[in-house]
């Protein structure tokens, strides 16, 4: 890890740790907890998009599975929240495996995008017709606050530290994966799938693994959401939220380990700033996504990185090297045929 990265990370951590000291307003703090929960999902999704180069429009489905599994296990079966979260995560991982194997093994990016879109609609439809199990349209209320052993996380401040602590672990894991051999394998796949295959990499299996990991991130976030808000309804997990996760990924910076947090926090805190947005939410999301893709395809993090590298005394543009997304752009611009179209 470079020194500037370490310094940035320390400043970031200090900022997140110190923030509740300055925010006494419960409502705002609550938003920050929700922003953390969403950021966790987006961090996982970003691994799939950024490292494995796959699109999922259905992570709201895994988010829902985590939330509902935790809810049902604690309320109907008397589990305590921590084991419920773990079981939910494992179960969701298995669902992702079942879905991922046929999809990632033989289908294209586009197939996965459409199939995951169908998946989240299917999960939503099941939650609505689930009757006594899922509570239908009104969902289930009254989840106990999250607890590990005798430590109960009640109230906004406790949940803030719980959620952001888990986000921190999630980022650490993502960064570790990105720098490990597995991360390099994934980047190789994104760079040249056939080339990676010829080096003996089981491309499909590597993609399935990331798909499952990212689903587990979403599941854990869903469980945390259920225990924090004490309420789940199908509407929280539909197509809209799923697509919003993708907006966050691209806004924050595809492939950046902290991009998920930046994008997640940005979109989640936007309605705080502009209260008028209720009906405009979808429109704003759509315009942000289209705008980001057209004008800042490297996202916020990539943009700052570029500005940082270009600063006086920074790296020369050649030395700084092109950003990964920009690089693929220039390749794309140079040779449309090279992309196998």
């Amino acid at each position: 890890m470079k020194r500037s990265h370490l310094l940035g990370a320390l400043i970031g951590i200090a900022f997140v740790v110190a923030l509740p000291l300055f925010i006494k307003d419960e409502y705002t703090l609550g938003f920050l907890v929700l922003a953390g929960i969403v950021s966790l999902t987006v961090t996982g999704l970003n691994m799939l998009v950024g490292h494995a180069g796959q699109l999922s429009l259905g992570h709201g489905g895994f988010y829902a599975l985590g939330a509902y599994a935790s809810t049902i296990l604690t309320i109907r079966f008397g589990f305590t929240p921590f084991p419920a979260l773990m079981i939910a995560a494992i179960a969701t991982g298995l669902v992702a495996l079942l879905l991922g194997i046929p999809l990632l093994k033989m289908l294209t990016q586009f197939h996965l995008a459409v199939a995951t879109l169908i998946f989240v609609m299917l999960i939503n439809a099941i939650l609505i017709v689930g009757g006594g199990w899922t509570g239908g349209f009104t969902g289930i209320q009254g989840q106990p606050p999250f607890s590990i052993g005798s430590v109960v996380f009640e109230g906004d401040t406790a949940n803030y530290y719980l959620v952001w602590g888990i986000v921190f672990l999630g980022i650490l894991f993502a960064a570790g994966l990105s720098n490990s051999q597995a991360g390099r394998v994934l980047r190789a796949i994104q760079g040249d799938e056939t080339g990676a295959q010829s080096l003996g990499i089981d491309v499909a299996w590597e993609k399935v693994k990331v798909f499952v990991i990212s689903a587990i991130y979403a599941s854990v976030a869903g469980s945390l959401l259920a225990h924090y808000t004490g309420s789940v309804t199908p509407a929280q997990f539909g197509v809209g939220p799923s697509l919003e996760f993708m907006v966050m990924v691209f806004l924050g910076g595809k492939g950046s380990v902290i991009g998920g947090v930046v994008g997640g926090a940005f979109i989640k805190l936007l309605p705080q700033v502009t209260e008028f947005m209720k009906n405009y939410r979808l429109l704003v999301d759509g315009i942000i996504l289209t705008g980001v893709l057209l004008f800042v395809p490297q996202g916020i993090v990539g943009l700052f990185k570029k500005i940082w590298d270009r600063r006086p005394g920074g790296k020369s543009p050649e030395e700084a090297g092109p950003l990964s997304s920009k690089e693929s752009f220039s390749v794309a611009l140079a040779k449309p045929e090279a992309r196998g179209e």
Binding site: V49, G53, L55, L57, P102, L103, M106, L107, T108, Q109, F110, H111, A113, V114, A115, L117, I118, F119, M121, L122, A125, I126, I128, V129, V239, L243, M246, V247, F250, N279, Y280, R281, L282, L283, V284, D285, G286, I287, L289, T290, G291, L293, L294, P297, S328, F329, A332, L333, P336, R339, G340, E341
Partner: protein
């Protein structure tokens, strides 16, 4: 029993004709641009919603429907000019995301204009069902089948016999070679977007009297159209029709067998299974 089967058959064919139109518009755009446009169903939603809104302003039926299709066609033109032309050289993942951004933007406008409520368009001619062999058939059904049937034949003629249609096919086949013999590829893409948008909008105004429309209807129409296109084989004109009818029939049969509350679950499950089981069409297409 016979009446019941006939009933399902008719409703399956009706829905199937709508899906076929959307599938056709999707594959038309795909074949000429290699862009898989996830916003395709939004054209249908928008066409239906605009027609409903205009009828609400006391405009005559025919005019409202035509205006709905025309406005969406113009939107297709604008989208091609302003967005698609810019992103054509992007990596495929980015293009797919751009169409998702477009899709969300169109839905977002729909929410701003019409809120989250659902609306129905009046039937083109009367809502009283006609009894045929014990099955009740809506006049709208006949309209849908007739219009989509005629349109298929027209397009088959257009793509196979007219100069512009042949130019479009040539450009879809080989862009470079087509431009060498004087076909302007930009015009072809433009044309296919306008056709794609207006066929989508037509599907929307046809289905709006029998299925409630709201800002999210486009998503469902998109995935059904796309799965139909994939199943039928995205590279062929007949594929969209076959795939659309297959998806429509499967959906209506499932609705007849299972309790109606599970209708959506079953329909989505079928789509997911079909997509996993029969991906070949599209793979063959995009490999070229």
């Amino acid at each position: 029993m016979l009446a019941q089967v006939l009933q399902f058959l008719v409703s399956g064919l009706t829905l199937g004709a709508i899906y076929a139109l959307i599938a056709f518009s999707f594959s038309l755009v795909f074949r000429t641009t290699r862009i898989m446009n996830i916003a395709q169903g939004e054209f249908s939603m928008l066409g239906g919603m605009i027609a409903i809104a205009l009828i609400g302003l006391a405009l005559p039926m025919f005019l409202s429907v035509m205006a709905g299709i025309f406005l969406v066609a113009i939107l297709g033109l604008i989208i091609e000019r302003v967005i698609i032309r810019r992103v054509r050289t992007f990596p495929r993942m980015m293009i797919i995301m751009v169409t998702i951004g477009l899709s969300m933007t169109i839905q977002g406008f729909a929410v701003v204009f019409w809120g989250q409520d659902s609306y129905l368009l009046p039937h083109l001619s009367g809502a009283d069902p006609i009894q045929i062999l014990g099955a009740a058939i809506l006049p709208q059904t006949i309209w849908i089948l007739a219009i989509s049937g005629v349109l298929s034949i027209l397009f088959w003629f257009f793509l196979g016999r007219t100069m512009i249609g042949l130019a479009m096919r040539a450009s879809a086949e080989n862009r470079l070679a087509a431009s060498l013999v004087g076909i302007n590829p930009i015009r072809v893409v433009q044309l296919s977007f306008v056709f794609g948008a207006s066929i989508g909008a037509l599907a929307g105004v046809l289905v709006a009297p029998i299925v409630f429309m709201n800002f999210l209807s486009g998503v469902l129409l998109t995935i059904k159209g796309i799965v139909a296109a994939i199943v039928g084989g995205i590279e062929s004109n007949v594929g969209a029709v076959v795939g659309g009818l297959a998806v429509g029939l499967a959906e209506s049969m499932a609705a007849g067998i299972f309790p109606s509350m599970y209708k959506d679950v079953i329909a989505l499950l079928i789509l997911l299974i079909v997509l996993c089981a029969m991906p070949k069409g599209i793979i063959r297409g995009s490999a070229r």
